[in-house]
Amino acid sequence: MMDILNILLSESFWAASLRIATPLIFGVLGALICERAGVLNLGIEGIFVVGAMCGWMAVWLGAGLWGGVLVAALAGAFFGLLHAILTVPLGLSQHVSGLGITLFATSVSYFTYRTALPNVSSPPRIEPFQPLDLPILSDLPFLGSVLFQQTALTWLALLLVAVVWYVMNRTALGVAIKAVGDNPDSVDAQGLSVYALRMGAITVGSALMALGGAFLTMSAFDAFFFGMVNGRGWVCIALVIFASWRPGKALLGALLFGAFDALQVRLQTEIGALVPGQVFLMAPYILSIIALVIAARSADYPRALLTPWFKGQR
């Protein structure tokens, strides 16, 4: 018990939690924007892969780190737009289209990587984002050293939580996006384009998802591996329900998840001899299912989620 307390009080534990949470913050925010507009985006897992691959490859080809971030976001937006075309004007099954996007985006990424690098024994490395030293903030006790160990992408994720919150709750655009996910007919009646709002939300949301992938290859690690996304996208789909589609709670959910994941890694070194290591590896997925089950009962789904809307048909 003392061990757990020691872990929870250590700065490195909270720094690790925030690091693990970062890709999920991007992913949950992206999924939140899509679903608020009424469209489930199961392309998320593949869009993570595309973001990870494209971001890494752009840097490897010499685009610079922020160039890589931009390329990753654009690649995510591209696959998001594809999902948007299939699900909004064509009104196709959001489940099947999303899974199709995941399969397509993943195989495009793997094929491109393999074709560009046919014979490498170990994946080439890039110089990733380094921890960001900010004046004043980094000097704060405890919090300072937790934040001090983070890279610019983590700061970007935290900034985006605030931006998404502001847009969703304080702007006319946010009101329109939420309305289009609840009652598209009313949005149409006001003369706004349901198609444009939904497609825009999916495209932007997908760009954010790709940043989550880019964080993996450009900050958490320094290379691209097959299978490195490993279900993180699906975890985000569970977390967005847990967060009841609110940016603040999305941050909380991602942080909680990161904390549990960081805790299990540390427990593994403490009591690893007693329990097979795989039990700890399973924990994050089991945790996501538990979070989903807890939240599902009272979940207040956007009312038009999964329902296609066609102009001129009621």
Binding site: L42, L82, L86, L90, G91, L92, S93, H95, V96, S97, L99, G100, I101, L103, F104, T106, S107, V108, Y110, F111, R114, T115, P118, N230, G231, W234, V235, I237, A238, I241, P276, Q278, V279, L281, M282, Y285, I286, S288, I289, L292, V293, A296, R297, A299, F310, K311, G312, Q313, R314
Partner: protein, 357 residues
């Protein structure tokens, strides 16, 4: 003004034509990545064709590869018919495979003649159990089965690795994470000498026929379709929706479990953690290409298996990454989706918008 309206009738030409055309378009689109990889597409297609139809061995490999895809394709097709989104066939496949090696490697003292039937039944039961849990969470707590089945895939795969380093590990494997082999009496007999194609294919074909008949002709099939088309109306008509969902969950999970049984007891003989290269996920593509019809699943599985076997062979000959096969498979899913739209709706140009009904 351009508007979209549903077609009055769905013609047979579309039902059959859309999947075929989608497959052809996806294959044609593969020319782009082939060119990008510096390969001559014509030569590549010829290599793929030779890899599929070039010899008896080549085509027997397609049949071998199609076998698990028929099982997982049926698993997805039945569940999707009831709008039960089982994306967990990959995990259920591994549950079936684990049950098969657990029983088949001689742990239970079963008379030889009963061993194979027990492997098949308990393997299917294990797969079914893997789908009952998410269905319970869906009906009891409203937890989205898409997310739970997807996450379960990861949990089950890690569980398999744990078992292969623990209770299921072959003591003779010198530390490799690999199970003990299934006893000879527990193996599905091969169909042809010196070829890998095995009687799991026959089981898959029988089940596809049975599913086709039941879906089209039985009361059970009618209920299933009614629940899928409109759950509220089905409930109103006195159908026990929950029971129907559990019924299809058991069938879907069981079929996916049989894919694992068939791979272990028909092909590999033992279990490793890389038994399935994503058969569960590919089964979804198979089901969609088949228009969720069990008979169509057989044809779609043969097509997808040909793509994989052909691309493998082309990849060896020309040095193009075999991920090309995954590209073709995912593109054919997207094409068939769009094709389904063209079959269901038509685009009308009208100067006067018809009054909204």
């Amino acid at each position: 003004m351009i508007r979209i309206e549903p077609r009055e009738t769905q013609s047979r030409t579309f039902t059959l034509g859309v999947p075929i055309l989608s497959a052809v378009i996806a294959l044609a689109l593969a020319a782009i990545p082939l060119l990008a990889a510096g390969a001559n597409p014509i030569v590549a297609y010829a290599e793929m064709f030779r890899g599929v139809f070039g010899s008896v061995f080549a085509f027997s490999e397609v049949l071998t590869r199609a076998t698990p895809l028929i099982f997982t394709g049926l698993a997805a097709a039945l569940a999707f018919r009831a709008k039960l989104w089982n994306i967990g066939a990959e995990g259920q496949l591994y549950l079936g495979a684990m049950a098969a090696v657990a029983i088949g490697s001689g742990v239970l003292d079963v008379p030889g003649i009963l061993l194979l039937p027990m492997i098949v039944i308990l393997g299917a039961a294990a797969g079914a159990a893997g789908m009952v849990a998410p269905t319970y969470l869906k009906t009891r707590f409203g937890a989205d089965e898409v997310v739970t089945t997807l996450l379960l895939n990861f949990i089950i795969l890690i569980f398999v690795q744990m078992m292969l380093e623990g209770p299921l590990q072959d003591p003779m494997s010198l530390g490799w994470p690999q199970s003990a082999p299934v006893l000879d009496q527990g193996m599905l007999p091969p169909l042809m000498e010196r070829l890998r194609v095995h009687s799991g294919l026959i089981l898959a074909l029988i089940l596809a026929g049975l599913a086709q008949f039941m879906l089209a002709r039985s009361v059970w099939g009618f209920r299933l379709r009614a629940v899928g088309e409109n759950a509220a109306a089905a409930r109103h008509a006195g159908i026990n929706v929950k029971r129907s969902l559990f019924g299809v969950a058991i069938l879907s999970g069981g079929l996916a479990g049989l894919a694992g049984v068939s791979e272990v007891a028909g092909l590999k003989g033992y279990l490793t953690a890389d038994l399935s290269p994503g058969f569960g996920y590919t089964g979804i593509v198979v089901a969609m290409l088949a228009g969720l019809s069990p008979a169509g699943v057989v044809i779609a599985a043969l097509f997808i298996a040909s793509v994989f076997v052909g691309a493998d062979s082309m990849s060896r000959a020309m040095g193009v990454s075999s991920f090309l096969a995954d590209l073709v498979v995912s593109m054919s899913l997207l094409c068939v989706l769009v094709g389904g739209f063209v079959a269901r709706y038509r685009i009308v140009r009208s100067s006067t918008a018809r009054a909204a009904s």
